[in-house]
Amino acid sequence: MTHHTNAEAISVHEEAANDRVMFGFWVYLMTDLLMFAILFAVYAVLHGNTMGGPTGRDLFNPKLALSETLILLTSSFTAGMGMIAARRGIKRQVLVWFGITFLLGLAFLGIELFEFAEFIHEGHTMTVNAFLSSFFVLVGTHGLHITSGLLWLAVTLIFVIKRGLNSHLVRKLALLSLFWHFLDIVWIFIFTVVYLGAFV
């Protein structure tokens, strides 16, 4: 009986701590969102300033952007499923779902880097004009977020494999999936404003 109440007290205490951490992380996400908003504003203002060079319509491949969107969306979904498994404490499912998330994130990053490499190879580097500068900064910043998310995910999964699912790691995974959903939402706007917007 005493043991039971102790455990409950700890879980209540932990829940309060979790809420605080979650709120703190949420504050970080919102400030990050503000940074993206400013980059979007810069892109919206400068996207026409090509100095007579090719515009987004000439450069972008909408099929590539669509595949990136679908891949990231699916990875956001598998992260959610992984989170459910983590809350249930099923380690194997956590590894499978988050493993898929990781691979999809890697595929997304691969396509993005392929696109960047192609632009740079054709001479459309970020120093050519204001349109390309703002494009590379906006999309590149998102790509950097994805990269750091992947590193974070890889490290967390290694800990899950080595130490098993403890409450600390479940909380980490919860923050990670929050981060991942957030990046998916930012990408929806990059897809709409940058890639689809170029063909309007």
Binding site: H4, A7, E8, S11, D19, M22, F23, W26, V27, M30, L33, L34, A37, I38, F40, A41, V42, A44, V45, N49, T50, M51, G52, G53, P62, L66, T69, L70, L73, T74, S76, F77, G80, M81, M83, I84, R87, R88, N129, L178, H181, F182, D184, I185, I188, F189, F191, T192, V193, L196, G197, F199, V200
Partner: protein, 227 residues
């Protein structure tokens, strides 16, 4: 233990369904704007407004079904903070676009770039011809005396130069086009002539033009530039 078994399965059960619904809706709202844009179903501002609206809708779908924001009593502050941030974002993007469009409109940067390129004899900028002349041919002189421009009509070829010579007292502001709706010629907004000082421009735009003194519209002349 009883608390766990009581509270957790319910939220989990809802969670799986919620992710599936969110995923399917997001797929639909990704394919629709793609279809609208690639197959040119709509166009112009209608299309832009539609795809932006769908993006905002998809954002709310993901916030609700993936982030579970606003569900349950706990994340109240998160919701408040989210909407505060959304407000700032609307302000930052809206105000930036408003200010910069205004600035853009008043500066006409294309004209400025073209003018600079022509002044420096750069014939192409990023693959587009600027109309800059690489070498000048004949020079034509228009003399302004007693409030009259002579000759009244100048026949020239492209890349010739035209010199305005002001022999009257006072400043002359020569502009192109009929008064008062003048326009720039080859990036030249206005040729300002101080007392007795000649000003020369390169004739890089072909066609028939009228020029007049902005301050005394009756002082005017014609110019024809053959290709």
């Amino acid at each position: 233990m009883t608390k766990k078994t009581h509270s957790q399965p319910r939220s989990e059960h809802g969670a799986t369904g919620s992710y599936v619904i969110g995923f399917v809706l997001s797929l639909i709202f990704t394919i629709i704007p793609y279809h609208l844009v690639v197959n040119k179903v709509l166009s112009g501002n209608t299309l832009l407004a539609t795809i932006l609206g769908i993006a905002v809708l998809q954002m709310f779908i993901q916030i609700f079904f993936f982030l579970h924001l606003g569900r349950g009593p706990k994340p109240f502050y998160n919701v408040v903070f989210f909407f505060a941030t959304a407000g700032i974002i609307v302000l930052v993007i809206g105000a930036s676009l408003f200010i910069m469009n205004n600035l853009h409109y008043n500066m006409a940067p294309d004209e400025v770039v073209r003018k600079q390129a022509q002044d420096e004899g750069i014939s192409q900028v990023e693959g587009k011809t600027t109309g800059a002349c690489q070498g000048n041919k004949d020079n034509h002189i228009v003399v302004i005396k007693g409030g009259v421009a002579r000759p009244a009509h100048t026949q020239a070829s492209r890349c010739d130069t035209l010199t305005f010579l002001n022999q009257d007292e006072g400043k002359r502001e020569m502009v192109f086009g009929p008064h008062p709706n003048y326009h720039s010629y080859g990036g030249e907004e206005m040729v300002v002539l101080d007392d007795g000082r000649p000003e020369t421009i390169t004739l890089n735009e072909t066609g028939g033009f009228m020029f007049h003194d902005h301050l005394y519209p009756s002082l005017s002349g014609h110019l024809t530039v053959a290709p």
